[in-house]
Assembly symmetry: C2
Homo-oligomer: 193 residues x 2
DNA sequence: CTCTAACGGCACGGCACGTGCCGTTGACAA
DNA sequence: TTGTCAACGGCACGTGCCGTGCCGTTAGAG
């Protein structure tokens, strides 16, 4: 079996990513070192550098891999209910530990490291945004939204204030807050006669 | 004159901050080192550490000090015109070099360093947000906005999508984009009978 | 004419980086 | 069964920057 080789390698990869998340939660991303990850995992530094080119790339993989499928996105036929469900799920996921602080650090690293920024976009941001816009488009085609309504901007208004709180003002993300955002968005969203 | 002492010290402070911005633009914030700033400024490292406790604090000061007054905020009596003027000024300031990339790096650092996050909030984010909400409140009192309209959320909808583009999707900040955001916001903003 | 604080220059120990080398392990092919 | 080979853990190395001492100098303050 050649599977054993691959399985052993995959196991090590998983173990390294687990240790990375552990250490990041204990000391913070800024003080995280590949040296420490290697030591705690019981692995040579080469084994890490063979898989990831930088601390940022390792951290990105460690944070995103367990959340790869992204947020669940229902289509119940009711666009308001679906948007509400989705934005509350985002608050639950990003607004609290464990993922919240890790995700904040990941976005922070993306500001310094273009490779991390690109990968974060492709693996998490864009798929999520695309699903939101697609759902909005279906609603628009069914006449639940005004036909001139700007779907891309609507998506940005759903996400932007959430990220603004998470990254800029650093106030807690609450369900009450996103509900207020949703309310204002809906005021400009419903079809006009 | 004791002024000479203070003047010399202030001159050195200015020179260090100038060099910091220079080097940050040349090599990026990630590769910026206090050692290099000291060397290029022709200054001992102590002289820097005496003024700032960390690279992050130095960078914050270097970026914000020249932009301390914040964005100009007119009150022409027309709330729509004022919001439009203000958000376009934000695009001009943050959407392009030199400040754009520096500001992105600053927000990134704030995700790893609570002191930087707090100072960024107090010196730039909150004053700006407060001015926006205050302007909205005046408009509301004058009946230009519905009395139940959520002013804090309106501010977040003005800022959030802008930061979302700047930090997350990293698409260029354009006047056309913020104009679309404004249009959607206004749809939920006007008074209802 | 001292006194003193801030200074530039230099050296230091410490840490993490990224990269070599070496001996070992274990799956696979001959 | 034996030989091959890639991945591995362990170790050491040179490098860069950290933050902090010390030392001699400089230029106002008293």
């Amino acid at each position: 079996m050649s599977d054993d080789r691959l399985t052993r390698a995959a196991d090590r990869t998983q173990a390294i990513m687990r240790t990375t998340l552990e250490l990041a939660q204990e000391v913070g991303y800024a003080k995280l070192s590949i040296e420490a990850v290697a030591a705690r995992t019981g692995v040579g530094k080469h084994t890490i550098y063979r898989r990831w080119p930088s601390k940022g790339a390792l951290f990105l993989d460690a944070v995103l891999t367990p959340n790869e499928p992204g947020l669940h996105y229902a289509d119940t036929g009711d666009i308001v209910a679906d948007l509400r469900q989705q934005i509350h799920a985002a608050v639950d996921l990003l607004g609290q530990p464990p993922l919240g602080p890790l995700y904040r650090a990941l976005v922070g690293e993306a500001q310094h490291n273009p490779m991390v920024a690109a990968a974060l976009n492709e693996r998490f941001i864009r798929p999520q945004a695309d699903r939101t816009v697609a759902r909005l488009r279906r609603a628009q085609e069914q006449g639940q939204l005004s036909s001139e309504f700007d779907l891309d901007v609507a998506m940005a208004i759903l996400s932007g204030p959430l990220y603004f709180r998470l990254l800029i003002t650093q106030e807690p993300l609450t369900h009450e807050y996103v509900e207020r955002v949703l309310k204002v968005l809906l005021a400009g969203m419903t079809p006009r006669p």
